[in-house]
Amino acid sequence: MSYSEKLIDHYENPRNIGSLDKSSEDVGTGLVGAPACGDVMKLQIKVGADGLIEDAKFKTFGCGSAIASSSLVTEWVKGKTIDEAETIKNTDIAKHLALPPVKIHCSVLAEDAIKAAIADYRAKIAKKTEETQVTNKDAAE
C-alpha cells in the first residue's frame, strides 16, 4: 500500500507521544478501540485555566494510519477550546493524510479518541462543580 508523504512523516516522526497524569483534574483521557481489532488509541488533553487545550499526548497501538491519525489530532487540538476541538471531523483527518479507503476507520477512531478525552474532561469538571456545590450547601447549613 502506498501512503502519502504527510502520513509517512507522522508515522516516522510522531508528534506528542507520551502520557499526562490521568488523575489530574485538568486532564481528560480518551481510550478507544480494542486490541482484538488491531487498534487502540489513548489520547489525552490538558486544559488550561483559560479554557484552551495547552497540551495533548497520545499513545497508539495500530497500523501506520492509526498512528498518523492520532499524531495529527494531537497537533490540531492544541490551542483550541474543547468546543472547537470537538468539531474535528474524521473526514478532515482522512483528507489531510490522504488515507486509502480501507484505512478510513483509523480517522474515525481518532475522532472518537478526541471526543472521549473531551467527555472525560467534562465529566471531571461536572463532578468537581457538584462537589463544590455540595460543600457550599454544607457550609450554608
Binding site: Y11, P35, C37, G38, A66, L109
Partner: protein, 412 residues
C-alpha cells in the same frame, strides 16, 4: 558450488519472505534458456527433431521431479502450479469416485485453494470434515482416524504450512489413510525440496508441487498421481489428452525444464541447506530473544522447516512494524495488510488470540539469505519494536501491571 551469494540489488530491501515466493536460482535460468530460443519445439510434435528435443527436455524434468519425491516419472504430471494441482487432485478424485464415496477430510489451516476447492465441492453435495489443529499447528492423529469413514474418498492434509512452517506427520497420516482405504493427498508446495519426502514410505497418493517455491519459475507446478494402486481423476482441463489425459494443453517446455532443474538442485543440496538454514533460524531467534521480551513463536518449533519463523511481537501491531522495517521484506498475519480486515485464520486456528495475531510477522529464510542479513534484520526489528512499544498504550498498561483482559474494550 554456491558461487551466487546474493541475488538482490544493493538498493533492494533484504528479502525475508521465502514462503511467498523464491528468487529463481541462476542455474535454473541457465537450464531454461535454450528452450526459449533454439530448442523451441512443441514437445508433443512427433514428426521432427524440434519436437523430440523439447520432449527430451520435458521428460528429463519429469524424472528430476519424480526423483525428489521417490516417485516413478510416469506418475508426475505438469500443471500451472500448486493451486491447479490442488484443484485437480481434490476435485478430480471426488468427481471420479462420487458414485461410491462423498466425503472429504481436510484441515482448517490448509491453503485457501484447498479450502475453496472443498467449499466448492460442498456446494455440489459432498460432505467435508475440517479437522482442527492443536496449539502447535499439528493435527491430532486420533481425530483424523475418527473422521475417516467408509465414504471418505480423500484426505487432504498439507505437508508444511505456508504461514507457520509446521510439518504435519505425513508418514503417520499416510498409514492411517491406507488402512482406512482413503486416498491421501498432500499439498506439498512448501515442503518439496526442503524436507525429505517419499511417496512410497509415506503412502502418499497425490502430491501437489510448486515451481516458484523451490527456486524454479512461476507458472509451473506438478501433481504426483499414484499408479499402483491406481488413482483416477476427472480432468479439469480437457483437449489434446496430454499428461495421461489428466491435463490437456501444450507443455511449457522451458518452465518444465526449470522445475526439473530446481528439483535436482534441491535434492542435491537439501541436507547442507537445511543445516545452514537451521543455524540462521536459531541465530535470528536468539538475537531477538536476547534483546526483546514478550515475543512468541507461533506454531511448533521442532516440527518446522528451518526457513520459517512466525513471531508475535506483543503490543506492536504488525503492519505498523512492517512500515518501520523498510529495509526488510516480510509479511504479516495482521488484518491490516489484507483487504478482509480479519487476522490470519491459520493463527486463529492455533488458538492465537486476535490481539496477538495482529502483532505477528512471518519471516522466511532461504537459499540466498546470509548471516549478515539475519543480523541486520534482528537489529532493525529490535529497534522498531522498541520504538513502537514506547508509543503503545498496551505496552504502557502491561508495564503498569494492568491486565489487558480486565478492560472492557469498546469494539468497533
Amino acid at each position: 558450488m554456491n558461487a551466487i551469494k546474493q541475488i538482490r540489488r544493493n538498493d533492494q530491501p533484504i528479502y525475508l519472505d521465502y514462503q511467498a515466493t523464491t528468487p529463481m536460482d541462476p542455474r535454473v535460468l541457465e537450464a531454461m534458456l535454450p528452450y526459449f530460443t533454439y530448442k523451441f519445439g512443441n514437445p508433443h510434435s512427433r514428426s521432427h527433431s524440434y519436437g523430440w528435443e523439447a520432449e527430451e527436455g520435458v521428460e528429463k524434468a519429469r524424472g528430476q521431479v519424480a526423483k525428489l519425491i521417490g516417485a516413478d516419472e510416469k506418475e508426475v504430471i505438469f500443471t500451472s502450479g500448486a493451486t491447479e494441482s490442488n484443484n485437480l487432485a481434490i476435485r478430480g478424485v471426488a468427481e471420479f469416485y462420487k458414485d461410491r464415496k462423498n466425503h472429504i477430510v481436510t484441515t482448517v489451516t490448509e491453503h485457501k485453494c484447498v479450502l475453496d476447492t472443498c467449499r466448492h465441492l460442498q456446494e455440489q453435495g459432498f460432505e467435508v470434515t475440517y479437522l482442527p489443529v492443536q496449539k502447535n499447528g499439528l493435527i491430532d492423529l486420533d481425530a483424523l482416524r475418527a473422521a475417516i469413514t467408509d465414504k471418505t474418498v480423500v484426505v487432504s492434509v498439507m505437508a508444511v504450512n505456508n504461514e507457520i512452517g509446521v510439518i504435519q506427520p505425513l508418514a503417520e497420516i499416510g498409514k492411517i489413510c491406507r488402512e482406512k482405504k482413503a486416498f491421501f493427498h498432500t499439498d506439498a508446495a512448501q515442503a518439496v525440496g526442503k524436507i525429505p519426502l517419499d511417496v512410497e514410505a509415506m503412502n502418499i497418493d497425490l502430491m501437489s508441487i510448486s515451481g516458484h517455491k523451490i527456486y524454479g519459475p512461476k507458472g509451473i507446478g506438478a501433481l504426483y498421481v499414484r499408479r499402483k494402486p491406481r488413482v483416477r481423476l476427472v480432468p479439469l482441463i480437457v483437449g489434446g489428452g496430454q499428461e495421461r489425459g489428466f491435463r490437456s494443453g501444450t507443455l511449457p517446455t522451458p518452465l518444465c525444464v526449470g522445475l526439473g532443474e530446481a528439483a535436482e538442485i534441491c535434492l542435491k543440496e537439501m541436507d547442507g541447506e537445511a543445516r545452514r538454514l537451521k543455524k540462521l533460524q536459531d541465530r535470528m531467534l536468539k538475537g531477538l530473544n536476547d534483546k526483546l521480551t514478550d515475543i512468541i513463536v507461533n506454531g511448533d518449533l521442532e516440527h518446522r522447516i528451518p526457513g520459517n519463523l512466525n513471531i508475535s511481537f506483543a503490543y506492536v501491531e504488525g503492519e505498523s512494524l512492517m512500515m518501520g522495517i523498510k529495509g526488510l521484506s516480510v509479511s504479516s498475519g495482521s488484518a491490516c495488510t489484507s483487504a478482509s480486515l480479519e487476522p490470519s485464520y491459520v493463527l486463529r486456528a492455533l488458538g492465537v488470540e486476535e490481539e496477538m495475531a495482529h502483532t505477528s510477522l512471518r519471516i522466511g529464510l532461504g537459499r540466498f539469505t546470509t548471516e549478515q542479513e539475519v543480523d541486520t534484520a534482528v537489529d532493525e526489528l529490535v529497534r522498531h519494536v522498541n520504538k513502537l512499544r514506547a508509543m503503545s498504550p498496551l505496552w504502557e498498561m502491561a508495564q503498569e501491571g494492568i491486565d489487558l483482559k480486565s478492560i472492557e474494550w469498546a469494539a468497533h
